[in-house]
Symmetry: C2
Subunit: 394 residues, 2 copies
């Protein structure tokens, strides 16, 4: 056992990202729930205080121009872009993930060839995507077809308008093969819409390189934007001029202050905007993204895999045989940045873990979920988490 | 002229709401743009700091329960309810006004009798309502019919599913007759959807008393919630069980953490929720609403009318004949809480006003807009604003 402690120390001292931990507000808890709500970046409180007291309190209405409020959705989109492999000008921030799924799916159906009337949705997805996809299908006269991602290549066809897939499964942590699935979807003549909630900020996505059509994601997990921070929409530049949003609010108008009674969409990513952006949450996110300055997503991915490998190794060593079973694939190519362990009485077990300073979460009915944010989780944290889990299950 | 200064002093000393000004962060500027972005309530910065540093930074994921994050949309909805004449349990906060207009209109069409296929929209409305109404019409197979509010009673008929009207015109400040228009809409068998952006917090609305079906509004004007603070949706209790949202995100599910692949809506106002609420903006709004504690909306309305009356009186006295023309109705029953003056070179004039510490706004092509928030605008402010306007136009 002390062998693993020594190994953790060695891994931590060789970790080139270890210094980033100081940019977060952390205590002695092992926080493995960053895949649900990222920890607070240290630069955020001061920035938010400035936004509230000076920008709102003193400049008031002038801040829409002088403090850059109006252009925040596209400016912050451009900060997220390199993290998901997108060139600038293709991402806008705003609204919730659910609302962006709606824009993306209705938009995708309208971009598809005439006569295509089927939306395929990941049957294993976080449920909101399925609910919103059903609504998009109903409103556009499409049929909704839930499929396991593995079935998609054999099932998409001439009726398929769009396919909505999760890059990483929220429950099991399985990473789906975005390049090959996107390619299979394109071969069938359909549009590929990816939900990046559980991958953005944890691993390379390569939106542009793999020809993804549309994508959405949240910013409060691995991007540490804060509770309910705004989500984002990616529309690839080739499609922007034909993107036809079902939520054409005044912020997406080519001349929003012209107050024209007729709608004419803005060019570019701005077309994905809707109403007035929620500035407090948005500018907290902007401050949170500063921790990425100079950090390569490839080094984040390398550390993420090392963390989850080491966690699985420690769990094997510390947890009595047969008490847990990993739902997360062991192959690196199929693993996101979390480990999901099936465990009897998982709810009670997670409560004990939290009481002992190891915070993960529980997913009904029997899953312990541990998320590893490479920016602030170290190998010592991983060893301790597995050790405490072993003690709880002993 | 000094007569008006004396009158202002007298009015200020008799103003029972005058003490509320101390609850806002204000400087020596006369701020008459609260109908665009309300001033900062003094209690907000401390609350936001606590939300960021303690609730997010220390409690992290636990705050969804322990800090009441999860239930904030309906809890804050219940704080807004008395200000718009709604019993508790009918309002949820979240998303932008545009997104809520979409929910309300598609929801209204689905609530209407079968075969009704026309959406009537206020042709004089803030443009986003018209753009979103066009999208709702397109997606539900309805025809969109823009009408002046005065034409509505004679024009609604057996084809009309829903009518979307603005309570107060954003440009002219005209207050529309909500009770009689709602009644005319109901006589035609259609649903009445009201946009309260420019009335909520400035005058009594009486949603329940007048049988309004659905309503939306923003919270950053007279409710002082902060830049882009979340909007709200009212669905009258009688209609809630049949309200069928076009944005059925997981937050509106009857068992959101059951993660069921099939959607089943929550009862009550929660059905209007969509995705994860933006907590920073939302809890800033909650703190902002505390200034309403013990304040009656009737006394706010009385002061608002006294302020706009006095402003028009001072403008008459100070501004050279013929230089401005009020677009705002003189009848109290037709006036919101703003005064719009048509003025040559309005853009340049507003710049000069702002340079001299009187902040209103300019609306293309020739409108000077002055908003009067009774919670923090006094009669001395009003006299000074009109006097500076007179000097600029002299």
């Amino acid at each position: 056992m002390s062998e693993l402690i020594l190994k953790a120390e060695k891994l931590d001292s060789a970790d080139e990202l270890a210094g980033l931990r100081a940019q977060f507000v952390l205590d002695d808890v092992v926080y493995l729930d960053g895949n649900s709500l990222g920890a607070l970046p240290a630069g955020v409180p001061g920035r938010v205080d400035d936004v509230v007291r000076r920008q709102w309190g003193e400049l008031r209405i002038r801040s829409w121009e002088e403090s850059g409020w109006w252009t925040a959705p596209e400016r912050i989109g451009d900060l997220i872009a390199p993290l998901v492999g997108a060139a600038a000008g293709q991402i806008v921030v705003g609204d919730s993930t659910s609302v962006n799924v709606f824009k993306a799916l209705v938009g995708a159906v309208r971009l598809a060839e005439d006569g295509r009337d089927e939306i395929v949705v990941d049957a294993t997805t976080f449920p909101t995507d399925g609910y919103i996809a059903a609504s998009a299908a109903r409103l556009t006269g499409c049929e909704l077809r839930p499929l396991d991602p593995a079935e998609v290549p054999g099932a998409v066809g001439p009726r398929t308008a769009a396919v909505l897939l999760n890059h990483v499964d929220y429950r099991t942590g399985r990473l789906h093969d975005l390049p090959s699935l996107t390619s299979a979807i394109h071969d069938a003549g359909a549009l590929a819409v990816w939900d990046l909630c559980h991958s953005a900020g944890a691993l390379p996505v390569g939106l542009d390189a793999h020809g993804v059509d549309l994508a959405v994601g949240c910013t409060y997990k691995y991007l540490n934007g804060g509770p309910g921070s705004p989500a984002y929409l990616y529309v690839c530049s080739d499609l922007q001029s034909r993107f036809d949003s079902p939520l054409p609010g005044w912020n997406s108008h080519v001349d929003p202050f012209g107050m024209s009674p007729s709608y004419a969409p803005a060019p570019g990513a701005l077309r994905g905007r809707v109403g007035t952006p929620d500035i407090l949450s948005m500018l907290a996110l902007e401050a949170a993204l500063e921790v990425w300055d100079g950090v390569s997503i490839d080094s984040v991915r390398a550390k993420s895999l090392a963390l989850t490998d080491f966690f699985l190794e420690c769990v094997s060593a510390y947890v009595p045989e047969g008490r847990v079973e990993s739902l997360t694939p062991s192959a690196h190519a199929e693993r996101g940045s979390q480990v999901a362990l099936r465990c009897a009485e998982a709810g009670t077990v997670m409560k004990s873990l939290i009481d002992q300073g190891v915070v993960g979460d529980f997913r009904h009915p029997d899953v312990l979920r541990f998320g590893f944010t490479p920016l602030y989780v170290g190998f010592g944290d991983v060893e301790r988490a597995a050790r405490v889990l072993g003690e709880v299950l002993a």
